[in-house]
């Protein structure tokens, strides 16, 4: 790097390296800049996919064709799924906040392989571009759903190949991020930061990174098989050639179920950061949360079959998968109890990030508890592939990960940008979003209970009432998102500047460094000598 002399004083935002302007960003190996690159990319694509979702909900406001036909609807939910899953929630928290804060929180100057980290973002972008080409070339936008189930995925004339290949490339990006994080956590923790002194967000990233490493190759090879199937007619999943379509589902879910934990574990980590800070109290049962994180990562690897309860699997397999599924519920329950117990006898400071964390608890409980309904065999048979499932996973993936993501943005915003957002607008956005979210997804539980299957662009009149409510909820939720985004974007550009190191009173290392952080984060790597959420000094210094 060109000038090594005085960068210690400048923040990473102002630092001028070899390149200037936009090149200084897209060629930067600084973990913080890469984190922001991911954030901006996701902001863009989240908006696109959210609009697709809004249009779909609008189509469903009445039976019959209201604003689009079946082909459009089918390609919309496919693209919505691909973007939301592969571009937003799978990389989501690790790529944005993991990149930005993991090194700072464990007292490192960067990740272990900064250049591979940049490569990972580039692969991500290339993957996105490949996916996008599927929309404008060949036989038209793919209409398989994000699951690419065989044999439909190689019979449809639509342009499935680029979508699959794009997802494959993004898988590489995910693997590289995972490798980077595992090595960073093993090799670069600050002196004195033993494993059990590491904050919980890095812990969950550690569990996540292992799943990224061990599960992503499975989807990689599965997508390769789909490509081989479509290009060479090789016959692995084609019943006409002896292939077994159910085997495709096995392979797909061997990745995609652990992928749900890739999505939700870091979200749990964010919540585990926010709750103690705003309760001014050590997290309750630190070890239990660490243990349950690793337990989820491990057991979550072996429950994929609960996505296939009605697919024609053997009864023995159904029994096994249902049993394992219930086991994986326990660690999540433990976490919820620990979070609530952390608030007990705390001193609760009500700020926007804390609102997001509390609403996370509520929607995550609904998501988790409805997961139990789906885990039980008899009830699953009725609810499988209905709107109940759609509601359940939106509660987990959007409610869980999405709320945690929003919480993370509002929590770390001042540190990242050196500016503060308008708290009143932020709270208003949160309130509208929360109401919209509930009225969008809660009716879907009822629709599913009454038997409306998913991926329907049209439905029988008996489902009309709940669909109206749900579609209106979508409009409310979008309004909330607009307020939140407008507030954040405006504040990032021209909000009041702040250099306060620790606006929330946090204890982890990212609150000890400059705001915004300097290029190398630390002038001197601090030595760590206690657990990450020790608020005893706060209690001592407070006069009651």
């Amino acid at each position: 790097m060109s000038d090594n002399t005085n960068h210690k004083e400048v923040s990473y935002l102002e630092y001028q390296g070899k390149y200037r302007g936009i090149l200084g960003w897209i060629l930067s190996t600084d973990h913080k800049r890469i984190g922001l690159l991911y954030l901006y990319t996701m902001l863009l694509f989240f908006s696109i996919a959210a609009i697709l979702g809004l249009l779909m909900k609008t189509q469903l406001i009445a039976p019959g064709e209201t604003i689009m036909g079946p082909q459009t609807y089918n390609s919309f939910f496919t693209l919505h799924g691909i973007i939301m899953i592969f571009i937003i929630v799978v990389p989501g928290l690790p790529a944005v906040f993991g990149n930005f804060f993991l090194p700072i929180m464990i007292g490192a100057k960067d990740v272990a392989f900064p250049r591979i980290n940049l490569l990972s973002w580039w692969l991500y972008i290339i993957g996105i571009l490949i996916v996008l080409t599927s929309q404008f070339t060949g036989g038209g936008p793919p209409d398989t759903g994000w699951t690419f189930y065989a044999p439909y995925s190689f019979q449809t004339p639509t342009n499935v190949l680029p979508a699959v290949f794009g997802a494959f490339v993004m898988g590489f990006s995910s693997i590289l991020t995972g490798i980077n994080f595992v090595v960073t956590i093993h090799r670069m923790r600050a002196p004195g930061m033993k494993w059990l002194r590491m904050p919980l967000f890095p812990w969950t990233l550690y569990g996540t990174a292992w799943i990224q490493i061990l599960a992503t190759p499975v989807i990689g090879i599965t997508l390769m098989l789909i490509i081989a199937e479509r290009m060479l007619g090789i016959g692995f999943f084609d019943p006409a050639l002896g292939g077994d379509p159910i085997l495709y589902q096995h392979l797909f879910w061997i990745y995609s179920h652990p992928a749900v934990y890739i999505m939700i574990l870091p979200a749990m980590g964010v919540i585990s950061e926010i709750i103690p800070v705003f309760s001014r109290k050590s997290i309750f049962g630190y070890r239990a949360i660490v243990l349950s994180t690793m337990a989820i990562a491990f057991v979550g690897y072996f429950v994929w079959g609960h996505h296939m309860f009605t697919s024609g699997m053997s009864g023995r397999a159904l029994f096994t998968f249902s049993f394992l599924t219930f086991l994986v519920a326990i660690p999540s329950a433990i976490k919820v109890f620990n979070w609530v117990a952390t608030m007990h006898k705390g001193s609760l400071h009500l700020h926007t990030p804390f609102f997001w964390a509390l609403s996370f608890l509520f929607v995550f409980m609904i998501g988790g508890l409805t997961g139990l309904v789906l885990g039980a065999l008899a009830t699953n048979v009725h609810l499988h592939d209905t709107h109940f499932v759609v509601a359940h996973f939106h509660f987990i993936v959007f409610g869980g990960t999405g709320f945690a993501f929003m919480g993370a943005v509002h929590y770390w915003f001042p540190k990242m940008f050196g500016r503060m957002y308008d708290a009143n607008w932020a709270n208003l956005g949160w309130g509208i979003f929360f109401i919209g979210f509930l009225s969008l997804y809660l009716p879907m539980f009822f629709l599913g209970m009454s038997g409306m299957p998913r991926r329907y662009y049209d439905y029988l009149p008996e489902f009309h009432g709940m669909n109206i409510l749900s579609s209106m909820g979508a409009w409310v939720m979008i309004s909330g998102i607009l307020i939140i985004f407008a507030n954040l974007i405006r504040s990032a550009r021209s909000g009041p500047k702040t250099t306060e190191k620790n606006p929330w009173g946090g204890k982890t290392l990212e609150w000890q460094v400059d705001t915004p952080p300097t290029l190398e984060n630390f002038d001197e790597i601090p030595a760590v000598d206690k657990t990450p959420y020790d608020y005893r000094d706060y209690a001592e210094n407070t006069n009651s």
Partner: protein, 94 residues
């Protein structure tokens, strides 16, 4: 600058490992030419497993690495075998 001391494997050990691998290869070819029915597969897989252990331990230096590495490799194999096992809960009972 690397703070861990490196281990040098003598040529003789590597040649010995190669000879062992070649013998095992010959053995597995020989065994599978005989008709043992189902044991055929088992024997071939066990011999392949033995070869894999030799490659992992000597050529890939697991024998000389920090404890963490062998544990991780073993864990990966265990996860793979568990996935295989759980998959056959479906296929064995269909």
């Amino acid at each position: 600058m690397s703070e861990e001391k490196t281990h040098m494997v003598p040529y003789s050990t590597q040649i010995a490992a190669l000879l062992a691998l070649l013998v095992l290869t010959g053995l597995s070819v020989a065994i599978t030419q005989l008709e043992f029915g189902g044991y055929n597969t088992l024997a071939a897989m066990l011999l392949a497993g033995a070869k894999a252990v030799i490659v992992l331990a000597w050529y890939m230096h697991l024998k000389y690495e920090k404890q963490l590495f062998p544990v991780m490799v073993a864990a990966v194999f265990v996860i793979f075998l568990l996935v295989l096992f759980v998959t056959f809960f479906d296929y064995s009972y269909r």
